[in-house]
Amino acid sequence: MSNENSRKTWAHPWSYREGTIVTVAILLLGFALQAAGGGMVLRFSGFPWNLISGIVFLGILVSCYLWLKKHRAVKWLGSVKAALPAILGFTFLVLLMGFVKQDVVHQNSLVRIFGLSHLVQTWPFILINLYLMVLLGIVTLKRLTPFTLRNFGFFLNHFGLFLVLFSTALGSSDVQTLNMNCYENKSEWRASDRRGNIVELPLAIKLLDFSIEEFRPKVTIVDNKTGKILMDKNRQSFELLDRDTFDLFEYHLEVDTFLATSGKVGESYFAVNEPGSSPSAMVKVTNSLNGTVISGWICSGSFVLQPEALKLNETYSLVMLPAEPKKFSSEVSVLTNDGTSRIVMIEVNKPFRINGWTIYQLSYNEEMGRWSDMSVLQFVRDPWLPAVYSGIFLMMAGAVFLFIFGKPKNGGVENVA
């Protein structure tokens, strides 16, 4: 420790001090470049340039290591003394992202000029990532030999992370995300990207049926004048209409009839199943404080039906809220270039994969709710995904390794170069 303090900066062996200087210099350079570019968003070139630069990077990294591995600077690059400040520098940027809301336009000129509201696409972020990849690459190469159990675990964690960083950085520009609005019984092959450009896909989609399964609607009590929901920190403000009787504040509710889809004729509701019909219920409400009983219909309403509340007294009414979706799905026929077609179900959390595209259920016409005849599908193509997943699986294996074998037995001292 004492000779560490008296050592001149940049005199070998380098330590945390040099690590900090290099990391800070990289961050400063990054922010300077960002400001010089007027806070512009950076985009990496797409295929094949990303692949070529990736190969060049790997080539330089490996050959530098092979030729210079005895050099003290390279040794230092493969040590914790370089790694820790770099990890902290990266953490610093991520902390900024944790405080400044991302992907929105900020008024503050500092935020704009340094690109703080879209940090992932700025120079400091990209440079620190590059630096981390260099460090991870060198330390991975360094610990490839000797081939021991400990080094194998080391490889899983460090090369795994390297692969994730490498393939997400290079692959980001090849990711295509397109939205397609599909209408029932119409074929569609055009989709639009984030900027609204229309892209023609090599496959056509015909929406056969869009359907929503809903939870039972909730009921709640609102103030007649303000329309605000009655809140009490110690009590539940909502109840799901899935039972025949329950209590809400001081009211006891009995559900006489529940209609999942209904229409109104005169003063009553009847079960019908046509676009715009809505859930409704006939309820009997007993005020447990004074015993008054009121009964009547409540209805959550839709784009054709007025919502209906039940007035309990001068101050409060009982209302039924719109039902929340439990599951929504599209039954579609997918027609590919070669003329084959097949019928599939696409659902939230259950996308469908075909010819390199993954098709997700994204949204629907929310105003029409369960009667929507339109479904929004999202098409995602990410050719680098297998590389990213390989990295993720290596890291998972690495985590399991750490779980089983834990900390190095000797506490690490012997491994330190």
Binding site: S79, V80, K81, A83, L84, I87, L88, F90, T91, V94, M97, G98, F99, V100, K101, Q102, V120, T168, V175, T177, F215, K233, N234, R235, Q236, S237, F238, L240, D242, E324, P325, K326, K327, F328, E347, V348, N349, K350, P351, T358, Y360, Q378, V380, V388, I392, M395, M396, G398, A399, V400, L402, F403, G406, K407, P408, G411, G412, V413, N415, V416
Partner: protein, 269 residues
């Protein structure tokens, strides 16, 4: 059904567990007798099991995993924390750790007693996935292990001031961090795989993801620092204590950050 109702009386079950855990803590602290310590262990196991039964019953009755709200995650935390304290007691006979974890678990349950939960039964489609349960359980287990490791760190920092020798507890902190960190990594990666299935992208730098990542980086710093500077206990323990602050921000604080409005990860209160 009636039996289910009885079990679902949270104040009763929670008070039961709290009383048992407090009694156990008292016995652990003030008695050296083997028999009484066994009794203490038995009491706390009973408390933990009672709470576990409650959570399972709740799961059945609301027909969705009870992992959606902050209060529900506190329940799991209380279970895991008391469980980890007990396991480490059986394994290493660290009485003080089991006392700390039980006290912390009591604290979490008391918070829940003061904020009665509203058990909303609806669950948005994006959360209905086989990934939901492993993702949340693995995370909370990681939080509990890392929370315990920070207790060890704080304890070491205090003992150090009184000039006693330490070393056993440091390696215990390491063990807990390595276990907790491997779970944290798995939780993070499960989350990424799930996000890809549900939203089409594995990482979107959503505020919760961002803070989870920051937490992960802090423990990464601890692991690397310990590896390179195995003798600098004090600084390492300070890193560990600081990491816990970040972890708490990630868990509770994110809800209140301006950067986090409209996040899918916000627990409902």
């Amino acid at each position: 059904m009636e039996e289910l109702k009885m079990w679902l009386n949270f104040p009763v079950v929670a008070s039961f567990a709290i009383v048992l855990w407090l009694a156990a803590t008292g016995l652990f602290l003030f008695s050296a007798s083997k028999l009484l310590n066994r009794l203490a262990a038995g009491l706390s196991v009973t408390g933990t099991v009672a709470l576990l039964v409650f959570v399972i019953m709740l799961w059945i009755s609301i027909d969705r995993p009870p992992m959606r709200t902050l209060g529900e995650t506190r329940l799991w935390y209380a279970i895991f924390l008391s469980g980890i304290g007990l396991i480490s007691y059986f394994r290493w006979k660290y009485k003080w750790l089991v006392c700390y974890s039980l006290t912390l678990a009591v604290m979490f349950l008391s918070v829940n007693l003061n904020h009665p939960e509203t058990y909303d039964k609806t669950l948005m489609p994006a959360l209905q996935s086989p990934w939901f349960v492993p993702h949340v359980i693995v995370y909370i287990f990681a939080y509990a292990l890392l929370g315990a490791s920070s207790l060890v760190a704080i304890r070491i920092l205090f003992v150090k001031q009184s000039g006693k020798a330490i070393s056993g507890p440091v390696s215990m902190a390491d063990n807990l961090v390595y276990l907790g960190f491997s779970f944290l990594t798995l939780g993070l990666l499960f989350g990424a795989l799930w996000a890809k299935e549900a939203w089409g992208h594995y990482w979107t730098w959503d505020p919760k993801e961002t803070w989870a990542f920051i937490t992960w980086m802090f423990y990464l710093v601890y692991i690397h620092y310990r590896f390179r500077n195995p003798l600098a206990h004090n600084k390492a323990m300070m890193i560990l204590a600081a990491s816990f602050v970040i972890l708490l921000i990630c868990w509770f604080g994110v809800n209140y950050l301006p950067s986090a409005q409209n996040s899918v990860h916000i627990y409902t209160e």
